[in-house]
Symmetry: C2
Subunit: 272 residues, 2 copies
């Protein structure tokens, strides 16, 4: 099995890919677009994409890309996010003048970072990539915020462990493939739809599910670039179209929504 | 009148501030947090914040900051976004090897950027800041994507005008103050609320407005960091609590929502 993910080895997306299949060949990609392309062109079997962090919120780019591509969601999983301050062996905390990480990494360690005086925070492309840069350029006065594994991969020491503000910092990932798979029973469905621009439209759309007792776990709206202040709605349902109630709810929604697409039906990760 | 905004002179937030009051003293701030602080501490009368772009979507950080602060929204306005490619006088397009801008600036000019071969795209803190950097460092092989005014402020020429993908690229801004003002009749209200984690909760919340014929123009959810996969909901209503129906709808919502706060009631910008 081959799996593509965005980022460098040591990225949380790599950990998520290993969780899908510990034996898989992994393909690190520069951008989320490249993950979609690798799956689309058959270079890998699956792509692993972060979709939401419990602190930072949705990764909107991936909602947009799910809609622009035609690759079904086949699974979801959750990965705990534990951030460490990493530096070259020998560097001590008082010597650190600059800290690099993804903007979300910096934001998720705000409490710790506020205890440091006169340290410059620099946003970079990704967490593991920051660790790589410090190792490659032998930066003795800088540190990165990234995973423990990123430190191992690039030969950096842990200067300070577990520096994230919230203990249950978790990222939810989606797995995309070229066709729907059905080994585990599906209990979750992701859809995207548009609505007429009239009062009560969203209320009517939600009625299709609420009146049938089908729960929602996520509602996200994204702009339609070609239509100012109109939106695409993304919704996660606690149900599968294999269940008649869900099938009827989707048919009901289609009466209201000018466009409706099922992005995937899959087994939820059921966090413990 | 004194107004704070985030960014450098030439930023779209500066144009929005000028639109609020062309004669006001303007205070450029490094970060959105600094705009809130400047209003809170009385150093300025108002703060101007981008809240949503018609192509890129919500500016989530400002939703979070509206909720964390206690400064009412007193007005909204829209500013058309026209991006230009700016470079030092004498630099020609074939000489440009790197282009700097805010990630949203780069994303909004994708079609034009794809026509350039071998040019590195570099994400930076803001659009006008990129123009400033090129001017300050006399970078003869680089260009910035920013407003025409940013070029004027920092002495850069327009290499290529109007390079954004979509013609009606527009950013909506909110004005925050220390107390609600009521010179123009209010027809729009922004609220934030939480919901019990049970099926149909959002449907019930929307019923308070839909059943009274009150339209919504925006629904945004943001994570509650301390409670994994639970959300704060932000909603814009086409109504004012001065209207009895809206007042009753808010009382109705308060029966369902454990917490509910009005972020402001103000005159909508009524785009033409």
């Amino acid at each position: 099995m081959k799996i593509a993910y965005q980022g460098e080895p040591g990225a949380f997306s790599e950990a998520a890919s290993r969780q899908v299949n510990a034996m898989a060949d992994l393909l690190p990609c520069r951008a989320f677009e490249d993950v979609f392309a690798a799956v689309n062109e058959g270079r890998v079997d699956y792509g692993v994409l972060p979709i939401e962090n419990s602190i930072g919120g949705s990764i909107h780019r991936n909602f947009d890309l799910l809609q622009q591509n035609d690759l079904p969601i086949v699974a979801e999983l959750e990965v705990p996010v534990v951030h460490h301050l990493l530096a070259l062996p020998g560097t001590t905390l008082p010597e650190v003048k600059r800290i690099y990480s993804h903007p979300q990494g910096l934001a998720q360690c705000e409490h710790f970072l506020q205890t440091l005086i006169g340290v410059e925070l620099i946003a970079s492309y990704d967490t593991a990539g920051s660790a790589k840069m410090i190792a490659t350029n032998r930066m003795t006065d800088a540190a990165a915020i990234a995973s423990r594994r990123a430190g191992e991969v690039f030969g950096l020491d842990v200067l300070k462990a577990g520096i994230q503000d919230y203990e249950h910092n978790t990222t939810r990932f989606l797995v995309i493939g070229r066709k729907a798979v059905s080994d585990a029973p599906h209990d979750k469905t992701s859809i995207v739809f548009t609505l007429p621009n009239e009062p009560g439209a969203l209320f009517k759309a939600l009625s299709a599910f609420a009146l049938r007792g089908i729960g929602l776990t996520k509602l996200e709206s994204r702009p339609m670039p070609a239509r100012k202040w109109e939106y695409l709605f993304y919704m996660d349902l606690k149900a599968s179209p294999e269940q008649p109630a869900c099938q009827r709810a989707l048919a009901h929604l289609a009466e209201i929504a000018p466009t409706l697409r099922v992005l995937g039906s899959y087994a939820s990760c059921k966090p413990t």
